[in-house]
Every structure is written in structure tokens, then in C-alpha cells.
Symmetry: C2
Subunit: 634 residues, 2 copies
């Protein structure tokens, strides 16, 4: 007999000891899935948790996880092992009655296991950003009412040290620490592994368990006191917004929404390249590199998407550009997701070289530039440009690349690619609706007297707000009805992003409402201006914010990082302000009022942990002066 | 302004005349999709009809349809034109209040347009098999309560001629005849085109229409008297079973089920190969050849799947092997679907030659042989082996090809590929459950006293019935609660197919329950036996049925077609019975009791219009003698 159970025997028998129950009869193993009795035969709840169980059932030997551990060893797990461990953890959660699972970890196998264990145990996952300060981590976990936390050893002190840490105010909430250390001896790697094994022992030994498998787990969960049959609109996870300007907000993901978003990502990012088993380089099985943080919108639902195609998760504890290039070359990576800033620095890394086979790079988080897409394409990194926000499970639009663009002159193909495009496969169409002078969407009555938002004309010029509807919109903000009402005001999800709609129906973001610069009555899109500034041969990154101007009201100020001087010991190129501003004046697409009043070169731009530019920090710098640690002498 | 509206103007203005309304202001065009007011912001109904509207919005110029018309011209339509015509027809249906749309046509553009028009008008589509006799066509349309029929001119006499035809008993139900004739003059092509244009005129001229677009259509449909907001469990189509042994039964497809099946088919058949617009042969945009009849399970949901990826529908009025090879070579076809019998004859066609680029062939309808898959692979036709039935929207399992199979000796890879495999991406797992001696699934009480079906052991030997649950199961049989209750008996969908479950959890069909041969107490799988017989170098096709035997109870009889003699003017090879049976005895996998008692060579095997072998007809032949017109002298 093959399959998960036999593997569990071989992998874990020495840990479980001689009391490990005999393997169940084959007839007991067949999974019945999670169709609860309340559904008719022809319906089952949409939940992405099922993708792991399914992957392990189809191809237990397929490589599921490759990971360089905290002690620098390369760990490899197949789908049988991944599924066994996730199921063990789920038994642990279910047996102890944990229903709200916090996690504080970089992109590790433990994170992936916790995502699936939480779902299978009927619990809600609450991921926290490990780059927050202890008080903010405590706020997230306290606000979301976690009853247990999985924490990576590198970051667990954030939970346990100091007066403001979570443990100080919640001493009774258990913390399962994962050391993420691999040893040849196979000893336990901390409390997390102990919990996994406790769960597997429970499965093996509890006398009330009839079916020692996923089906048995589902039956056990369903039989717990107070358990309600899963509804697909129930919450599966509460990732938090980055909270650059206010307290982070908890965004409620439903099982249905996560399932439909994950399926759309399979198709849109082409994760299902080839699962035909042919040894064919042209369309390889998905090997997905975890550059995107898993805590961010639950890795935009890709933990589920990759399992849906039995792909390999190549985990990564931190962004390390030389290591990424090494993995791209040596681990046959086919896909990764990253913000434009990460891609910019990746392309600028000394290790950068054109890859032998194409890699699809799903790009989101902030508007990318045409320049970046052109650079990436030269390295055989093929951008899939998507746009979204935590409130839309990540991606909800895609810039679909049309064959006719290949005939456009110059950079125009890449300029088109930099547009945010059209609504996603499983989404309703994206709209851009008229706004008032403050950037708030406004409604009007149509001739039947119904109040609706008014779409902007498709002229590529009129600025409005992008709004969404339908299955790829999250359920709202956890325990914040006022913010949810504002988000959904008038029956649409308000993105807060300002955009135009082009004649071809594609959407292009100009700015966050608060980032637009109004100079002498003209709107200046900081995104559009930045995309011009990065065309300068010495500029690496550019960010523009408004500074007060006595004559024009506001004018742009540019913050730049510059490229490394060739043969200059890693020193950045020097750019002189007046020469730079003169160069800007002569670029196409620049109107006089768009030229920045001043520029400043810094060693590093302020960014969130997910790679978004922190314009609020730049505005502080503009008002109070640039901090000494990033200052570059003019 | 580009987009559907401007195209409508240029394409149809001479037909609409000078009264054609001015183009609407751009602000009126933005589609709001079909999110009706009853849904919260974060939900919209799952319906595959939206895929056409979306495709035309993203890429109006993309080639949507290529078709050789009834008068032999090659017609090409882009997505704007396809969507305009479907929307016009939907306006026509909605304006006249048609809610149950019959269709009798081969694989034409009119069929595709009717599928989407019906869905957009909130109607139910009822496709009928054009190879049925007039009385059976009348039965289908009468039983399903159609209130209008779209009919291809080649087959409309089935509706209008003779005493038993549909029109004889339903003189007031309109029939929209489509001539499927293309002329350079662009005149109307019969009542079907007239209805499309009437709908477009309505859209252009009705004073009560505010929004002359898909959004306007949705609003118009929603405002009709008696209209209920669409529920995703509502019926979208009622395709009929082939009804080989009884009256055809109408299978109710829901919007949700069709949507999830269509999405799964995108991923499983890899239709989303590349929509990145690169001129790259390796992963071309989907160009799908319509070998599978559209009336069969609504073309297994592929009309929707292909539009979901903005692929090209290459339509085909009938199976014509030289033409198929021509289209495979000249139209850059990337995908088609066909039954094993069609693939067998395609591989045997004199035009067969290895294709320059791989084509994915989704194979279903009856169990294929390893031999066929090996032949196809040599021609660069890559099988995606799926299994299902009309009651499961077509495909619900797939034989996933594992990399490790490449190391298996001899034909074993292809033998594994011929298994039906595991549950589909959006399905619950397939199960094989124990049956009684008559092949009926049996239940047992578990130790908690709950009555459940009992899964067979995963031994590759124990025969049971394949049963399904979940979203890829149809809602049941239209107006046949008794048959529906039998289909869903005990809370699962009964396939009626007998199978084993292998140790790797994959399902392999042995036979329909009624086709299995019981000889001296041993079960003989006719499918397994046939897969051995076709390995004979002179055999093209093989079908086995039981014949009564005084000693063994039953024994197998083989019906064969043979390959064409090379240089023999198309004459078939002669096979001598005793030599053939001696050959069979020496094949591996043959037990003594499996060897057929007799064999007979025929010119043609009896098949349904969807390519399934008609074993009931063969059993008649075995009892009463082979008809003269297929007899081949022994």
C-alpha cells in the first residue's frame, strides 16, 4: 500500500514509538472530502484547503517544499509529508479546541503547514507582519482574538519580550515556536514540531477515531461541540492591512473568495504550465519561489494556488538578491511574485543575468514602470502585471498583453503593460467612477431615479476612483463596521486609488488619492512622473511627493536612489540636481508644471515590509529634513 | 472610441439602415456585470455567460471564431463581433419573452451565439442531437418545454417534415433557421440572422433602454415581469443523455456547476497556455477545434472555457478526418476534444503525420486503450485523459500523468495513462464503493450506526461502482424525480460504471455494469479485453460483448474492424478467426477464460453520435446475426 499513511509510518515511526497503531485497512482510507450533510449531492462548499489533500492523494511523491532552513540546510518535503504534517497540526488544533490561529513567521514550511492545518481544523488564520514592533504585533493578535500562536524562533521574542509584548498581556495563550532548524538526527524542532507529532499520535491512538485520514479529521471537526457546518462564506483568514497611516485593519477572507481567487491566480499566472510529467523544459511543472511574504494577504492566496497544481513551494526566509538569482538558476524556479521595488533591485543585482528559461513574475503592490518591464523582459523574467489590495485577496485586475502591441513603436508595448488592465478571470469588471475634488467617488441619479456611481469616460484622461464588486472582494474589516461601511459605501468596494479608463477599457492607476500632487490647479500623477524619472540612465528608483509652494500651491519633490558605479566599490553614481532637472524637462510626456522643484539622492527609500513606498514618510522627510542615515551629500 | 459599440456600427450599419442610433456616450458603456441587488458587495453569482462579455471587453480584436460554412467559405469573427451578435440575439429573446431556447445544429457559430444569448437573456438552453430521428427530437424539445428553437438549415426538416415532427404538434413555436451560408454581399442568412439584427435594432432604438450595452441588457432582463434575480443554482441548460437503451433524459446544468466545470477545464486541459501576446510557438494562445459535438453536455462546457481565455473556436460542421488534419496543420489548432473512437480513426487516416507543434487532446466518452495513447503521442497529439458523463458536466476525473511513469518499462506509461485517475480540480474525490452481485452499490452501517457506502480496498482488483459528490454533479433529471432519486440514491451520484481503485488512489473503469461478462463465475472486463485485442497489428477497433454459452454461462464475442491494406485500394486486411484467437491466447494479461469464443470482422462498429460504442446493438447482432451492410465474409 502506498499513500500518505504508509509514508507517515516510515517518516515518523521512530518518533511515534512502538505504540504507533497499525496501518488502517485500505478500505478505511478513501477520503470523502468535506461535503457536509447539509449540502445536496450536487454541491460542496468552495474551500481552498482541499487542494493540499487532493495534491497528496494524486501524487504523494511530488516535491512540495524546498527550503533553506535557519541553519542553512536544504530541506525537501514531498506532498505526502507536507499533507501528513498539516493534518497532524490540524488534529492538534481540533483536539485542543483552538479556533483562531495566529502566525508570526517568515516564508517557512511551518507557515504553509499552519495555513492548511488551520483551514482543515475549521479555524481562522491570523497572520501578522514580523517587521512590526512588538506593540503592533500584540495589537493584531489581541484584536483578532487569537487563541494560539505559531511563531518562528527568529521572531518569537517580539511576542515574549518587553512590557508591550503580546505575552505580557496574554500569558495563557500558547505560543508554538518553530526553530526552522533541520538536523540529520531528526529530533524535534521545538514546540511546533511537538504539536504536529501530538496531532499525529492523536490520529493514530484516539479510540473514538474511525477513519485515520483526512476524512476522519473532517468527521472529528464536524462532531465537535458548537461546530456549525462550514458555510463557504465563513471566514478562513484575517490578514491585516499594512497600516501605514493608521492602525492595521483585519480583512476578512471567506473560504469561497479565497478559493475563487486562488483558482484565478492559477489561470492568470499560468501556474498549470504542465503537469503532464513530460521532461519538457518548455512548459515545466510549477516551481514557485516565495519572494512575496506569506503574511501579506495570505501570500495573495498562492499557498492554495500552488497546491492546486501540485507545484513546488520554494520557501525563502528573507529577500536576498544573490540567493534569489541562485535559486532561479539552480532550482528551476518557474514563477515568483514580487513588488516593483523588489524587481527593480533584483534586476540591478550584480548576479543578474538572462535566464536560460522563462520565469513568470507576477508583479503587484504598487504601480510598476514601463522601464522596469523592459528590463525584466531582457532577463527572461516575464511580467504578469496584476493589481489589487488586501481587501481584494491581492490581485483583482490584470494588464493583459495583446499581440497587437508587438507592432507598437519604441517603448509603447511596455507602457501598455504598465497599465493595470481589466478585471480578473473570476472578478466582475473593474470600474473607474467620477469623484469630487477631494477624490471621493460621487453618485448621481439616473433617469429612472436610481442613485448610482457614474463611470468616467473612456478617454485615458478623466480621473476617477477604481471600484470593485463581486467574489474577489473580501467580506469587510473584522470588528470594524464603520470602516467596512466606508469601504462598501454605495454598494461597491472603494479602492481609494485614482485612475483613468483608456478607450480599450483598461484601467491605469495614477495615484492614491492622497498622493496626487495639485500644482497650479493641475493634477500631477506621482506614479506617471516617477515612471519618467526612472528612465534616467543613472537612476535606480524614484519617488515623488508634494511639497508646499507659495506660488503653485504644491510642487513635486523627487527622492532618488542611484545605480552603483561600475568598478566603484559599490559606490552610487553622483547625480547633480540642475543637470537632472534639465534632463527631466526634455523628456517626452513632461509638461512644464510636472518638473520637480527639487530632487534629493538618498541611499534607501522608505518602504513597507511588502515593498510599498511609504509616501507618508517621504512627506515627513520633505517637511523636517532627510534623516542622516540615508542622506547623500548633494 | 474603440470597443464593441463602434464595431457594431461599422459591421452592421448597412443592415440597420440610417435609423441606427448614434453611438452612446462613453460614460454609458462601462459594464456593471450582472451583480444583482440581492447580493452583498463581496459576492456575485457564478455564471459562465460572463466570460464572453469579458473577452470582448479585454480584446475585441482577438479572433473568436473560424468556421467553414455550409457553402464552403471560411468565416472569421473577432470577439467584438461574436459578442455583438450574441447580445443582439439575447435582446431578441428577452424582448419577446423567450425563456427556453431549443437548438438543433452542428458545431456552428450560431450554436455558440445561442449558448451565450440564452444565458444572457436569463433563459435555459436545450440542445438536441441532430442525429436523432424526428420523433426523438420532438420528444426532447416537447419534454423540455422549449418556446423557441434555433435550427441549422441542414437539419431543420427534422423539425418540420412528417407527422411525428415537432412542428406538427407545436405549430406555434417559432423556428429560427440558420442557413450557415456566407456571402460577400452580406445579406441575411435566414431567420436566425434576422433575429440577431432585430435584437440589435431593439438595443439601438428602444426608448426605455438607458444603457446600450451588456449592462443595459442585464438591467432590461432584470426588469422583466416575473423575473427573479439569478441564483447560481438556477438551471442554465438541459442537455440530454444519449438514451441508448431508454428515452433520453434531460440533465439540469446549473450556472454554478457550469462555471466551476468550465474553470476546471481551463486548468486541466491547459487552455490558458499563453495569453501574453508573445509570438511564441511554444505556448500559443488557445485555438480549439470543435470535433466534440456542442450538443453533447453543452460541448462539455468548453464553449465557456474557450471564451474564458479568449481562445479561438475553430468550428466544424462534421467529423471529416482529412479536413481535421488540414486544420491541425494550417489553423494552428492547439486543443481538441474527442472520443477514443474518433482518435483511433484520426490516427489511422492516410493524412496522419506528426505535427510540428504539440496539440493537447482531451479524450473522454469511453475508456481509451494504452495502444491508442501510444499512437497519438507519436503524432504529437498529447492526451489529457478525462472521464465523466453528461450528469457530471462531462469531465470529472483526470488521469494525471506522473513524471515517475517515464521510467516504467515498455508500454506501462500508456497503460497508466489509460486509467481514469483522480477527481477533477473543482470536484470532490471520486470514490469506488462496494456493490452487490448485480453491480448495485451497497451500504453498510459504520460503528456509529451511520449508514454509508463502503469504499473498496485500494488493491486494483476489487470491483465496485464509481460514485461522485459535489459541485461537478448536475442537479438531476428534468421532470423525472424518480430517475433523479435513483441517480442520487444514498447521497452520492451513481455513475453506473464498474471500476477498481489502484493503490495510488486512481480509478480505473472496467465496464458499464451491464457490459461486464461473467464467464464461469469470473468477471471479464470488456474494456480490458478490448484494450488487448487492439494491440493486434491488423486490428483497428475492437468491441466485445457477452454471448450465451451452455458450459460457462457467458463467453466473450469480439467484433473487429481492421486496418486498410497498404496499396490495396482501401480494402481492409483479412484476419482469420483461429489465427487471431491463437494470437489472443498468447498475449500478456490474458487469462484462459478471457479468450473470446468467436470473432467477427465488420466494416463498421455501431456507435452513438458522440462516439460511444453501442454494445446493446452488438448484443442484438450476436443474437440475431450481423446485418448484411456491415458483414465481412469470414
Amino acid at each position: 500500500m502506498s499513500g500518505p499513511q504508509s509514508r507517515l509510518g516510515s517518516v515518523l515511526s521512530h518518533l511515534l514509538g512502538s505504540k504507533h497503531a497499525p496501518e488502517p485497512a485500505a478500505s478505511e482510507i478513501a477520503s470523502t472530502g468535506s461535503n457536509e450533510a447539509t449540502n445536496p449531492v450536487y454541491k460542496h462548499v468552495l474551500t481552498p484547503t482541499s487542494f493540499l489533500e487532493r495534491a497528496a492523494a494524486i501524487e504523494p511523491d511530488a516535491e512540495a517544499i524546498v527550503h533553506i532552513t535557519a541553519n542553512g540546510r536544504t530541506l525537501r518535503r514531498n506532498y505526502a509529508e507536507f499533507a501528513d504534517r498539516a493534518r497532524g497540526l490540524a488534529w492538534y488544533f481540533a483536539h485542543h479546541g483552538f479556533r483562531r490561529i495566529g502566525i508570526l513567521a517568515p516564508n517557512t514550511p511551518a507557515f504553509l503547514e499552519t495555513i492548511f492545518a488551520s483551514g482543515a481544523a475549521g479555524a481562522v488564520l491570523i497572520p501578522a507582519n514580523y517587521r512590526l514592533i512588538a506593540a503592533d504585533v500584540a495589537y493584531v493578535f489581541d484584536f483578532a482574538d487569537v487563541d494560539i500562536i505559531v511563531a518562528d524562533a527568529q521572531f518569537s521574542s517580539l511576542l515574549t519580550e518587553g512590557n508591550e509584548c503580546f505575552a505580557a498581556s496574554h500569558p495563557n495563550i500558547p505560543i508554538l515556536v518553530d526553530s526552522d532548524i533541520d538536523t540529520t538526527e531528526g529530533e524535534l524542532r521545538g514546540a511546533f514540531d511537538a504539536a504536529v507529532l501530538e496531532g499525529l499520535r492523536l490520529e493514530a491512538h484516539r479510540p473514538d477515531i474511525e477513519d485515520r485520514s483526512w476524512a476522519g479529521l473532517h468527521a472529528f471537526v464536524a462532531a465537535q461541540p458548537g461546530h456549525k457546518p462550514l458555510d463557504e462564506d465563513d471566514t478562513i483568514a484575517i490578514p491585516f492591512t499594512s497600516g501605514t497611516t493608521a492602525k492595521p485593519k483585519g480583512v476578512e477572507f471567506s473560504h469561497r473568495g479565497a478559493y475563487l481567487a486562488a483558482l484565478a491566480n492559477v489561470a492568470e499566472s499560468g501556474l498549470n504550465g504542465d503537469d503532464n510529467g513530460d521532461d519538457d523544459d518548455k512548459a515545466a511543472r510549477c516551481r514557485y519561489l516565495w519572494t512575496l511574504p506569506m503574511f501579506h494577504a495570505v501570500g495573495w492566496t498562492f499557498p492554495w494556488s500552488v497546491c492546486a497544481v501540485r507545484g513546488t513551494h520554494v520557501c525563502l526566509r528573507k529577500i536576498d538578491y544573490p540567493l534569489i538569482w541562485k535559486l532561479l538558476r539552480e532550482e528551476g524556479v518557474t514563477h515568483f511574485n514580487a513588488a516593483p521595488t523588489v524587481n527593480t533591485l533584483l534586476c540591478a543585482d550584480p548576479q543578474a543575468e538572462r535566464l536560460a528559461r522563462p520565469v513568470k513574475v507576477t508583479v503587484a503592490a504598487s504601480p510598476p514602470t514601463a522601464h522596469l518591464f523592459e528590463q525584466m523582459s531582457k532577463l527572461n523574467l516575464h511580467p504578469v502585471h496584476v493589481y489589487g489590495m488586501t481587501e481584494t485577496y491581492g490581485p483583482i485586475t490584470r494588464g493583459y498583453i495583446l499581440p497587437s502591441w508587438n507592432k507598437l513603436p519604441g517603448h509603447q508595448k511596455f507602457e501598455r503593460m504598465a497599465r493595470q488592465g481589466h478585471g480578473f478571470l473570476t472578478s466582475m469588471p473593474a470600474r473607474v467612477v467620477k469623484t469630487d475634488d477631494d477624490g471621493n467617488a460621487i453618485t448621481a441619479k439616473n433617469h429612472k431615479g436610481v442613485t448610482t456611481f457614474v463611470d468616467v469616460p473612456r478617454d485615458g484622461r478623466t480621473i476617477g476612483e477604481i471600484v470593485f464588486q463581486g467574489n474577489i472582494c473580501a467580506k469587510g474589516y473584522y470588528k470594524d463596521p464603520a470602516a467596512t461601511a466606508k469601504l462598501f459605501d454605495g454598494g461597491v468596494l472603494h479602492s481609494g486609488d485614482l485612475a483613468v479608463m483608456h478607450p480599450d477599457g483598461s484601467v491605469q492607476i495614477l495615484d492614491r488619492a492622497k498622493d496626487i500632487i495639485i500644482s497650479g490647479g493641475e493634477n500631477i500623477s506621482s506614479v506617471a512622473l516617477e515612471s519618467i524619472l526612472v528612465e534616467h540612465p543613472d537612476v535606480l528608483e524614484a519617488a515623488v511627493v508634494a511639497v508646499p509652494d507659495s506660488h503653485w500651491g504644491e510642487r513635486p519633490k523627487a527622492y532618488l536612489t542611484t545605480k552603483t558605479l561600475k568598478g566603484g566599490d559599490g559606490k552610487p553614481v553622483v547625480i547633480e540636481q540642475q543637470a537632472f532637472l534639465d534632463w527631466v524637462k526634455h523628456q517626452s510626456g513632461i509638461s512644464r508644471f510636472m518638473v520637480p522643484r527639487e530632487m534629493e539622492v538618498v541611499t534607501e527609500l522608505p518602504k513597507t515590509s511588502t515593498g510599498k513606498l511609504q509616501k507618508n514618510v517621504l512627506r515627513q522627510w520633505a517637511l523636517k529634513g532627510t534623516p542622516d542615515d540615508v542622506k547623500v551629500a548633494p
